[in-house]
């Protein structure tokens, strides 16, 4: 057997340029197929892990998918807010263990700013783990200490990207920034008091401030216009507000954790029947499933395209080897003369094309993992997707097995041709 492997290797090496090309074509097809599949798998895992500790997301009535996307992944923006009274009411419900208000709208160099309370730091879970601190501490409670209003906590990615440390000062931007107006909150510089450890969740990309601090920055703003541009109004602004007066009147969303997850449906029903405000309570898992249902069509067509490309690459290997077989009749006759049975030659050719396909599959997989490894920062910060390069698993493993089966089937064509030719030619192949 080892003799045949060595022979197949030498024979293939002598035709390495043609074979390298088909190997590359197999690699590219595998790269496409596995890339799509793995991104899909990793995206799903990252998205569902990002919210593993939250039982309900509450927001103004509307689209559940939208609520989840903007409140958790900071994708898109809320079109309406919910009243603060809803949050107070939820917090008082006996089944609710914790409730974290979420206020969105500002940004810091493109990173979303989350106005919330310190409860978030103790209750939020990502990948089943609580938040850890690399530096500093949570922001304080402005009710106890009015300085806490100008305290800010950074997600790992934000701190890394701008090289911020505890003690640094920064200025947030109203809205997403980039507009023609001067929309910086430079009248409210904030001090970094803590930096979170990386979690892989969208929180890594966010800047967290007190709800009261968030409100303080927006004192005097109306219709998205900075009070600085209204000179007379700016002069009339109180410089230090009383924290008790800075409770916001509305919120973007509320994250809710329950004592007992089994009560999630009854709590949801209760929240959605609050009289004052039409609210919606969303189970993150269910909302994600709805989102995947929408994305599925696109994903599936990508996977289908990947599969077709892969199959066509395998067929091209078979075609190239099939055509090459006519040029190898002499080689087959020499091996026949030395006593090799036609069946052995079938195996010999099969071995070669299977190895070519296998090499293509392995290279394609390796390149896909290298690319993911290289792009993992971009994928995490830009899309919130934590990729896990490494050995194949789950869906990828099934695809690899399927690809290999197709490779063996395609390889049977040139092998069968070799068998027929060696029977037909015997020791006398047609002169070349």
């Amino acid at each position: 057997m080892s003799l045949w492997i060595s022979l197949a290797w030498h024979s293939a090496w002598s035709r390495r340029f043609a074979l390298a090309l088909v190997t590359v074509s197999v690699s590219v097809s595998v790269l496409i197929l596995l890339g799509v599949q793995q991104l899909r798998e990793d995206a799903r895992r990252s998205f569902s892990n990002a919210l593993s500790g939250v039982d309900l997301i509450v927001g103004p009535r509307g689209s559940a998918t939208e609520l989840m996307l903007y409140s958790v992944f900071q994708i898109g923006r809320p079109s309406r807010n919910m009243g603060i009274s809803g949050y107070e009411e939820i917090r008082r419900m006996p089944q609710v263990r914790w409730a974290v208000p979420i206020q969105l709208g500002d940004s810091y160099n493109g990173h979303p700013v989350l106005g919330t309370t310190a409860t978030l730091f103790t209750e939020f879970k990502s990948q089943g783990k609580g938040l850890q601190w690399t530096q500093g501490r949570a922001f304080g409670n402005p009710a106890d200490n009015s300085d806490a209003m100008s305290e800010v906590v950074l997600g790992a990615e934000v701190a890394r990207r701008f090289g911020h440390r505890v003690g640094d000062k920064l200025v947030l931007t109203h809205g997403a920034g980039g507009g023609p107006e001067d929309t910086d909150h430079d009248d409210h510089p904030l001090t970094i008091v803590g930096i979170l450890a990386a979690t892989g969740a969208p929180i890594d990309r966010t800047v967290l401030v007190n709800l009261e601090g968030f409100e303080a920055m927006h004192q005097g703003w109306g219709m998205g216009i900075s009070p600085k541009s209204l000179k007379s109004a700016a002069a009339a602004l109180p410089q230090v507000a009383n924290p008790q007066d800075l409770q916001p009147v509305s919120l973007s969303a509320v994250w809710v954790g329950l004592h007992n997850r089994a009560e999630v449906f009854s709590v949801r029903r209760k929240i959605e029947s609050f009289n004052r405000d039409p609210l919606m309570a969303v189970l993150p898992g269910v909302a994600l499933d709805e989102l995947w249902q929408v994305v599925k069509v696109v994903e599936n067509s990508l996977v289908l395209i990947g599969m077709l490309v892969a199959v066509s690459a395998m067929l091209s290997v078979a075609a190239v080897l099939l055509v090459a077989m006519s040029g190898r009749r002499k080689e087959l006759a020499i091996l026949r003369a030395m006593g090799a049975a036609p069946r052995a030659l079938l195996g010999f050719v099969l071995l070669e094309s299977v190895l070519v396909c296998l090499l293509g599959i392995v290279c394609g997989y390796a390149v896909s993992q290298l690319l993911m490894w290289g792009a993992q920062d971009v994928l995490r910060t830009g899309f919130g997707v934590m990729v896990q390069p490494g050995l194949p698993s789950g869906e990828s493993l099934v695809s690899l097995a399927a690809l290999f089966s197709v490779a063996v089937l395609a390889s049977l064509m040139p092998a069968w041709r070799a068998y027929r030719l060696s029977l037909m030619d015997g020791l006398h192949p047609p002169a070349l």
């Binding site: 022979l7 080689e331 020499i334 026949r336 003369a337 030395m338 006593g339 090799a340 036609p342 015997g426």
Partner: protein
């Protein structure tokens, strides 16, 4: 009576729907003796060699090769007989271009352990026999590691002869092995081949259209197109 390398009787062969290609009443070659087969193109010389080598199945008549009735063997058994106890030399392109000289020469002993064993019994190892044969056939040792395409046609034919003789097969079948060579080189090659074969009691059966080579053989067999021989 000494053993016969081949023994044919009333052997005929025909392509489907056509008259017999040849009919051989009787032909016997004693083990160790050499046979020269000559005849015009199309008289079935190559087909006869294919029958002797066991590549084609016998249709009619007796075809005994190295004591085996070829008609009674399966295709795989015939392949095995060829691999273990025969050597084959073609007119040209005998060698696998992607292997060097040494690897080509050692192929038969790598394919069949019995052949390697025979080689080791008489010469110590297949590599030693290969060296001895190469020397006998006038191949320099520095060629050993050369790729095939750097050799001249004459050198390639000698390498093919070394390969055919590896493991001391009882029979070497040669199909026009000299016709790609210059006239002057033909006899030289033939003498080296026959002489070396004799030393290990190998019978050589050779087909050629060049009748001037016939006198070097113990036996000459003439074939005629379509007819009796």
């Amino acid at each position: 009576m000494s053993k016969s390398a081949i023994h044919l009787r009333a052997l005929t062969h025909a392509w489907t729907g056509q008259p017999p290609l040849f009919q051989i009443e009787e032909l016997t070659v004693t083990q160790g003796k050499h046979l020269f087969i000559q005849g015009p193109s199309g008289c079935g010389k190559s087909t006869l060699l294919s029958l002797l080598a066991g590549v084609q199945a016998v249709q009619n008549g007796v075809c005994q090769v190295l004591g085996q009735d070829m008609a009674a063997l399966t295709a795989v058994q015939r392949d095995r007989l060829r691999g273990e106890q025969m050597g084959v030399i073609f007119q040209q392109f005998n060698l696998l271009s992607y292997l060097d000289v040494q690897a080509n020469v050692l192929m038969p002993t790598r394919l069949f352990p019995s052949r390697a064993a025979a080689s080791s019994r008489a010469w110590g190892s297949p590599a030693d026999q290969a060296k001895a044969l190469a020397q006998a056939l006038g191949l320099a040792e520095k060629m050993w590691r050369q790729p095939i395409n750097q050799l001249s046609v004459g050198q390639q034919q000698r390498v093919a002869a070394v390969r055919a003789l590896m493991g001391a097969p009882e029979l070497v079948i040669a199909d026009e092995p000299t016709s790609a060579l210059d006239d002057a080189r033909q006899l030289e090659f033939l003498d080296l081949l026959l002489h070396t074969a004799e030393k290990q009691n190998t019978s050589v059966i050779m087909v050629s259209h060049n009748a001037r080579l016939a006198h070097r053989f113990d036996q000459v067999f003439e074939m005629h197109a379509g007819g009796h021989s």
